[in-house]
Amino acid sequence: MSGVHDMGGSPAGPIERDQHEVEDWERLADAISSALGAKGLYSTDEHRRAIESLRNYRDLSYYERWVAATEILLVEKGILTGDEIGERMAEIELHWGGP
């Protein structure tokens, strides 16, 4: 197996059929990825590669992996820094009344 994501044929349990309500931040994660792709700033393939590189792949939800990968790519390409994302995050969480 080339990575945790390469899971075809692995043993696994019953399939959970519940559908969660898609949250606004998840819609946003989708849209940001898509918009960055449309501008040629990164590709779907790069995004997949970044997702596959996540050490905590199995612990994150689908869109959590998307966001983590988006951050990896934006930092990799020098578009944003990890620090400024962290700072802005802290401001937002404070505004929301704490994480």
Partner: protein, 97 residues
């Protein structure tokens, strides 16, 4: 190497690191060319920001489930198809009955 529908092929057992779109469960397995899908830029290179050129031919490759899995539950005519790039294939044995 170009293939045509019906050709027998084997998926390379390569352990190439990095982003690949050939699943582990197919590596080293034998099947047949079901269809020629067409040329696409190579995702392995695209994923690191390269152009992915020259384009590689993508093939729809068929496999007998009974040959992919030990104790497969189902008849011999159950098949699995995956879309595999030309550079992951070599001429092989095995195929449709």
């Amino acid at each position: 190497m170009t293939y045509r529908p019906g050709d027998r092929v084997r998926v390379l057992p390569s352990k190439k690191p990095g982003h690949v779109r050939t699943p582990g469960y197919l590596k080293g397995k034998s099947g047949w060319i079901e269809a020629v899908i067409g040329p696409f830029p190579n995702p392995e290179d695209l994923s690191y920001g390269f152009s992915g050129l020259p384009e590689r031919t993508l093939y729809k490759v068929g496999f007998k489930q009974a040959e992919l899995w030990e104790f497969y539950e189902g008849p011999d005519e159950d098949y699995l198809y995956a879309d595999v790039y030309e550079h992951w294939l070599e001429p092989g044995t095995g195929g449709k009955a």
